[in-house]
């Protein structure tokens, strides 16, 4: 319950931002806020995996890409050539197919976004299970390398397969109609709606994860981080918990991928790139590793600035600088320095003074 309450101020901020931008006629900021929210969804998932379960993943852009690419491909690549195959007719009879015409009047038969979304997220989860079992047995740098390798493989496949558009990626992805009248799309007219879709999704994700880390499972995860061996001896099935967390964060990443792809109307191989994964890890670290709020904050701020092109051609340079500066001077994340630590220091000093008086 307390956790739910802690989300309320954030909800207020979200609504406030909307009201403020609409009052000042700067609603266009919401575009980047929406995109940042989706990236942050991935980042908070990764934060639980890295900060709490202590398992580094340099391949999370891969899961994002699995979600994004699959739902993009399923909802854009026409199945007309395969009409009549059992799989297609099966899907059709299940009501999962949508026929229509593309922008240029060609007949089109595609999977509905809802079905595509579910297929994409389930695929990501299954892949996470399959690779998670062997990968999570590794430790430290070896784990980093294995996840990095996974990311590279996904990137390479996206880049090599005709189905995924090779270097051009997939464009003209249709809107994702969540409910009648509510759809994820990049149309200028749907902006406010999409801002709320993204943020509500992020808030739900945040509540779930906050609940998780402050529970039996969360403690077990932190225990694994603290001492793998001792957690094991406490009866924690460490392998299974690590795997479940890995899958959970993969699902978060895939959902983010699906939604952002529909929002953007397309996806390209840069979303699967290794530097993206590195960026996500770095943002989690800058947020303070085991710090969901820090990760959320940094995810929003850094992505927002970068998507707005604030730093121009120095985007990477500034990002690198932020990384170094924060890691040098505030290794426990941005929040640790600015708010908590300083406050505590101040309070602490106050207490000492009073103690001195007495």
């Amino acid at each position: 319950m307390k956790k739910l309450l802690s989300i309320l101020p954030l909800l207020a901020v979200v609504i406030g931002v909307h009201l403020l931008t609409s009052a000042t006629d700067t609603m266009y900021y919401l575009t980047q806020m929406t995109m940042s929210a989706y990236y942050s969804l991935l980042i908070i998932g990764l934060c639980v995996l890295m900060g709490y379960a202590g398992q580094i993943s340099l391949g999370h852009a891969g899961f994002f890409a699995i979600g994004g690419y699959l739902s993009a491909a399923l909802t854009t690549r026409s199945l007309i050539p395969y009409q009549g195959t059992t799989l297609v007719s099966l899907l059709d009879s299940a009501g999962l197919l949508l026929s229509g015409h593309d922008l240029y009047g060609e007949a089109l038969l595609v999977v509905t976004p809802w079905a595509a979304c579910i297929i994409a997220v389930l695929t990501a989860a299954c892949i996470a299970v399959v690779i998670g079992i062997p990968v999570l047995k590794l430790k430290g740098h070896y784990l980093a390398m294995a996840t990095l390798g996974f990311g590279i493989i996904i990137y390479r496949l996206a880049l090599a397969m005709e189905y995924f558009g090779e270097a051009d990626g997939i464009s003209e992805v249709p809107a994702f109609v969540l409910l009648p009248g509510v759809s994820v799309s990049g149309n200028f007219s749907d902006r406010v709606q999409n801002y709320y879709i993204a943020w509500v999704l992020l808030l739900i994700g945040m509540v779930l994860l906050l609940n998780l880390i402050d529970s039996r499972v969360g403690r077990a995860l932190r225990g694994i981080h603290g001492s793998d061996e001792a957690a094991d001896a406490m009866g924690v099935n460490t392998a299974r918990f690590k795997l479940q967390t890995f899958v959970l964060s993969a699902v978060f990443a895939a959902i983010a991928g699906v939604f952002l792809t529909h929002y953007n109307g397309g996806i390209g191989p840069s979303e699967a790139g290794v530097m993206k994964s590195v960026r996500y890890v770095a943002i989690v670290a800058v947020g303070g590793m085991a710090h969901l709020w820090g990760a959320l904050l940094m995810g929003i701020v850094l992505n927002f600035l970068s998507l707005r092109g604030i730093f121009g051609s120095y985007d990477d340079a500034v990002f690198g600088l932020i990384l170094i500066v924060i890691m040098l001077f505030a290794p426990n994340g941005i929040l640790s320095i600015n708010v908590r630590h300083r406050l505590r220091q101040l309070l602490g000093r106050g207490k000492q003074d009073r103690a001195g008086e007495v």
Partner: protein, 361 residues
């Protein structure tokens, strides 16, 4: 007095994987804007150029396109540098009725035609046809195709495979390699082992263009090597050194501007662009910078005619005829948003480390 500033947006891959495109493009634009403004602007209006560096990421291109259209309220957008990014923002520009002058190569950008979307680079299909015509003359009928895994390579490979039968040419080997490959001797060995191959076409960008050439020659294989119009930078010839000798490729006339006949409509502007660019940036001018040059001059011509109005500018571009640019002479129409014909290309060959027009053996 300046009536108003004309805002032009540009989304270019100045850094990142496609910076060899975005770099010269951005520099060309900066140079041109400076020139135009120093000469009094367009009809007395100064040009304000806003360049956004997308680093070749579609998601950034999308964000920037929306930003430029809504916040900056630009008249038109130049770029993006790559086809993949262009395709992502095609719909956005169309929806917002903002002209987009892409520097991307792929034909899908303008085919099917979207009302507000144009592109300046020559069509791949013409480059391909030009090469095949040359092959027919040389009596080559079985070839190997190599392509980089970039949007450029992808589009080129697609056209090569599609058009080859029209010219009675059989593609017996196809390989796609990574754009960052630093040695291709294995794949060269593989296609060399196929004794049918009479010539190799490589469709890629730096540095692989030079590496393919080197690895082929090092392997002692001397079948003709054709490259795409992406080879249009003398630095690549320098990079390939001795291995570049004899490479044949189609390109715009920028590279051989000096040797064009005086009555060529492009000659004057090519010479000027080349001279100014090389003087200002101390690096050889390339056809890529030329794409941005063309986009900008086309836009300016339309603005001069139609003023600061997105719709009118769009219509004006569609009406441009016989407009000389670096890539060729543009003739736009409602159906053709590229405006270049096959004659925009000239076959060239590398001789003694220089580009010269290729006129057959």
């Amino acid at each position: 007095a300046w009536a108003e500033n004309i805002k032009v947006g540009a989304i270019l891959a100045v850094t990142g994987g496609a910076s060899f495109l975005g770099g010269p493009e951005a520099r060309s634009l900066e140079m041109l804007v400076e020139e135009v403004n120093n000469n009094g602007g367009i009809n007395g209006n100064k040009i304000e150029l806003i360049i956004k560096d997308s680093a070749a990421s579609p998601e950034k291109a999308i964000s920037f396109a929306k930003q430029l259209i809504e916040e900056e309220k630009v008249l038109a957008i130049i770029g993006p540098s790559t086809s993949g990014e262009t395709m992502k923002i095609k719909n956005i520009c169309e929806q917002a009725k903002t002209p987009l002058l892409s520097c991307g190569a792929a034909e899908v950008i303008v085919n099917p035609v979207a009302a507000y979307v144009f592109k300046t680079p020559q069509k791949d299909s013409f480059a391909v046809k030009k090469i095949f015509m040359e092959m027919n003359k040389m009596g080559i009928s079985k070839i190997a195709v190599l392509a980089g895994n970039t949007g450029f390579g992808k589009a080129g490979k697609g056209q090569l495979l599609k058009i080859a039968p029209e010219f009675g040419i059989e593609v017996v080997e196809v390989e796609v390699y990574d754009k960052k490959s630093n040695d291709l001797s294995a794949v060269v060995a593989k296609i060399k082992a196929n004794k049918d191959v009479q010539a190799v076409i490589n469709w890629s960008i730096v540095p692989a263009q030079a590496i393919v050439a080197k690895n082929m020659r090092q392997a002692g294989w001397d079948v003709p090597l054709f490259q795409s119009h992406g080879f249009g930078n003398i630095k690549y010839v320098e990079a390939a050194g001795a291995a570049a000798e004899g490479i044949i490729f189609p390109a715009g006339r920028l590279l051989i501007a000096d040797s064009l006949p005086a009555d060529n409509p492009q000659k004057a502007l090519l010479m000027a662009y080349k001279k100014n660019y090389e003087a200002k940036f101390n690096e050889p001018a390339s056809t890529f910078g030329g794409h941005a040059y063309d986009a900008f001059t086309i836009l300016m011509a339309a603005v001069a005619e139609a003023g600061n109005d997105r719709d009118k500018v769009r219509t004006a571009i569609e009406g441009l005829k016989n407009f000389a640019g670096t890539g060729g002479v543009f003739n736009f129409s409602a159906e053709d948003h590229n405006g270049l014909g096959i004659e925009a290309f000239q076959m060239m060959i590398v001789k003694d480390g220089k580009f010269v027009a290729y006129t057959g053996k």
